[in-house]
């Protein structure tokens, strides 16, 4: 029997030390936490808000809030997961404000099953990404993520870009594990669809649409 009934979070000792020191008032320790995660938080904020100004606000608000509420941080989860959770909430608030769209939510009901749509079925070139320069590739990848609904791009960014586990993603987003999985599947398939337009093998158009 393995004790694998609860998800095992890898304890990051360096992170833990930095958090402990920050709580004791060590400001340079908190600055180190910022340096560690600001890139990921900014990218996440960019991916959700799709707006640089908003992303910068989210970045600042998240770290300021984290600093302010450091004593509320429970040591049983990663600091990173905790700050991601703060950042996601801030980013969604921005998104709602900008789009004045009340429907922007991570836990909206999604039908399972019928909406798994696969539009493009075409094999890709062997190394399609090698045929583009770095800038072109970055643009294609970013535009594909931007075209996803907020719930999908958030789950995808956390899970597949930042490398959080399904359990950590669920915790950061306050979603159930099945909810994370179903969003992840849709996100992955939609991205695959979008990239297929660029990467499909030439001459396969005839069977590309069904």
């Amino acid at each position: 029997m393995s004790p694998a009934t609860t998800p095992v979070l890898v304890v990051d000792q360096v992170e833990l030390d930095l958090v402990t020191k920050s709580r004791a008032g060590d400001q340079s320790a908190f600055a180190s936490l910022v340096n560690r995660y600001e890139g990921k938080i900014f990218r996440l904020a960019m991916n959700i808000t799709q707006n640089r100004e908003d992303a910068e606000d989210v970045l600042q608000e998240s770290f300021l809030k984290a600093y302010e509420h450091l004593d509320q941080f429970q040591g049983n989860s990663k600091f990173y997961t905790w700050i991601v959770r703060i950042a996601v909430n801030q980013a969604l608030m921005k998104l709602r404000k900008r789009k004045s769209d009340r429907s922007v939510s991570l836990d909206e009901q999604i039908d399972t099953g019928e909406d798994i749509v696969v539009r493009e079925i075409a094999a890709w070139d062997p190394d399609p990404e090698q045929q583009l320069n770095q800038g072109e590739l970055q643009t294609i990848l970013a535009e594909a993520v931007d075209s996803l609904a907020p719930i999908y791009r958030t789950v995808f960014t956390l899970r597949d870009v930042d490398g959080l586990s399904t359990e950590e993603t669920a915790e950061a987003l306050d979603l159930s594990i099945p909810a994370v999985k179903s969003r992840l599947l849709r996100a992955r398939l939609q991205l695959r669809d979008r990239l297929t337009k660029f990467f499909k093998r030439k001459g396969d158009d005839a069977f590309a649409y069904m």
Binding site: V34, F42, R43, F63, I121, V161, L185
Partner: protein, 79 residues
């Protein structure tokens, strides 16, 4: 027999190597016989690989400086 829909529903776990051996074998048998699912599986796998290969995003310098200024201000007023 596994349908294409069944296959798609297991795809995420399959790509994450979270399926048990029995399901895995069924999925692999399906891919071997179904060209569409083979293409979907292969191209989804490559989609993930391309995104994972993206380099870490550097925060623009000006954004970083403003964050540090805001933080110092905050630190000066609390604790």
């Amino acid at each position: 027999m596994l349908t294409c829909k069944d296959f798609l529903e297991e795809l995420t776990d399959y790509l994450d190597e979270k399926t048990d051996a029995e399901i895995r074998e069924k999925l692999e048998r399906h891919i071997a016989e179904c060209p569409n699912c083979w293409v979907i599986c292969d191209t989804t796998k490559r989609t993930l690989r391309i995104y994972k290969g993206m380099k870490e995003y550097d925060v623009p310098r000006d954004v970083h400086s403003r964050l540090m200024v805001a933080l110092e201000k905050k630190m000066a007023t609390t604790r």
